[in-house]
């Protein structure tokens, strides 16, 4: 079980798309930094992200949402201590 972390905007990088291609069936996805933009507007991979959210496998760092004046439309918003817990729950992390 991998914790995938993405920190690039879906509008300027393929990191999120590439990550979604490799995401395993039980893996978690955590959006940090500019990647939080992905859950604030309709994007191409929205239906996949939405499915991940339904399966409780999509997480968004709340501080990064707040910092950019955005509102998350979906995804479980978390703080840094939750981030630590997720990293322990998963066997490894892959930073995109």
């Amino acid at each position: 079980m991998i914790l995938h972390t993405v920190n690039h905007s879906p509008f300027s990088s393929f990191a999120l798309q590439d990550c979604l291609k490799q995401l395993g069936d039980t893996d978690y996805l955590l959006l940090t930094g500019d990647a939080v933009i992905a859950v604030t507007v309709p994007i191409e991979s929205k239906s996949y992200l939405f499915k991940l959210d339904q399966e409780k496998r999509l997480f968004v760092l709340q501080a990064d949402i707040n910092a950019r004046g955005l509102t998350a439309s979906y995804g479980t918003t978390i703080d840094y201590s939750d981030f630590v817990r997720l990293s322990i729950e998963c066997k490894s992390q892959l930073a995109w």
Partner: protein, 119 residues
Amino acid sequence: MEKKIGIVNRQPPHGSSDAREALDLSLALSAFNESLSLFYIGDGVYQLLAKHKTDDILQKDFQPMLQMLELYDVEQIYVCQTSLELRNISIDQLVIKPILLSIEAISSHLALQDQLLSF
């Protein structure tokens, strides 16, 4: 038991130092860890495309170092087949002979690793 370490190479060569320094790191880690796997996905596959000529761009040609992976007994070198196909690259154009894997097979190999480093 020794940890399985996977190094994921995603960037094309030369535009940034990521590819070259990831290879430095891979060669160094191979001296300490025999369960090292290298993954080349996305633009990372360009690192393996043969015949780099870097004299005119003031960048170091690190492809001779790729050949050293074999000397260092790094045998688990995986390349994403779809990434190659998307870029019209065939396996015989590569400087080393890696193991070709589908996107799904890459995912399952990534899941086997205890630690992942990504460049």
